[in-house]
Symmetry: C2
């Protein structure tokens, strides 16, 4: 079986928006209502940051449970890693996720401003400059035969889609309209020339969109 | 997280029938149309016995992909293991699955007629006599912290349901009516006093029923 490049548990609004335009330390998604996009995931039993017992085990749980399965590396854009822009002012910022990031694999952060790799618990962050295809090649090697997750954000997913490198996408569309922000698509139909699409409504109100290459 | 007892990818007809009454070597399910119950699984990319590349990566694939995940042991009834009844005539029958059974864990076969354990590739079959709760305890221990899959058939699933031991069920209901055979339920509503139920239709025509304990 090939090593896939997979977008997983990626959240957008009904109008295709995954993040606001003004990210900050207080608003990692640059959106006042970001939690309305990903509340479905936090309600599941398999949500990695769950602290209380319980949680749902219906359809949504299949998606959160699948998150680590057979994944050997993640690629993310710099804006998923942190709110800074331009050259690094210091190296104290080590991501949004505290001392135990949920990735537990090598993570390749795409940036024009390189900095030394570092490890937090089971996750090692590497900072790489390069075209999507070259970064994917490095991530595939690090994944040692397992799949590679494309973590986002919106701009990074679009970049890899435009380069024809994405094998499967799972996008959860929330029943909320945001109006402005960074847009994954105007309509999911834009991808139908290259992907099969199965649309699956969930009891939580989100609509899971599953795409795989034609 | 607790060790769950999970029914996974269990197939029944629209009228709740999972197997015929007259199992034979030629008809492991005792049904002439058994393939109409599980065709959805064979069409997915993650089907373990897939020999050709390709296969779908939509909703159905989440279920076949989930099959081995975090599973440390399986429990099955004797009729899932083979067509013989009564005392073993010989020990040459080693299951339906050839030299590489898809379980890849210890498997506990419930029977009043014990026989020595044996190993095929990554799967070891044990033959155990006992009440469901006692068999589950042995399987949990063998699973070393992972979940236990309850493999079926119908009679065995019913036995564990009646004993209140099942934590989650995924039952795929096929759009075919069989009329007679071994019945998991007259209606899935029978389980609603003890389980949450989310019903998810799939593009393949089956309807996935996801149950988890209240």
């Amino acid at each position: 079986m090939d090593q896939l490049l997979r977008v997983m548990n990626f959240n957008v609004s009904a109008d295709g928006i995954g993040a606001g335009e003004h990210q900050s330390l207080e608003q990692p998604f640059g959106l006042g209502q970001a939690e309305r996009l990903f509340a479905w995931a936090g309600a599941t039993a398999s949500w990695p940051r769950r602290t209380e017992p319980g949680g749902s085990r219906g359809l949504d749980d299949y998606f959160t449970r699948d998150f680590p399965r057979n994944i050997g590396a993640e690629i993310m854009g710099r804006n998923k890693f942190g709110p800074q822009r331009g050259p690094w002012q210091d190296h104290e910022w080590r991501g949004w996720w505290g001392e135990e990031p949920p990735f537990r694999t090598p993570v390749f952060v795409m940036t024009h401003h390189e900095r030394p790799s570092f490890t937090l618990s089971d996750t090692t962050f590497h900072f790489v400059d390069g075209a999507p295809a070259a970064v994917l090649e490095r991530a595939r090697e690090a994944a040692r035969g397992k799949d590679v997750r494309l973590g986002g954000g919106v701009t990074t997913v679009r970049q890899f889609l435009d380069a024809g490198l994405v094998d499967t996408l799972h996008v959860a569309v929330a029943p909320v309209t945001l109006g402005s922000g960074l847009r994954l698509w105007d309509s999911p139909d834009e991808l139908l020339d290259r992907f099969h699409l199965e649309i699956v409504p969930s009891a939580s109100g989100v609509t899971h969109h599953l795409f795989w290459r034609r």
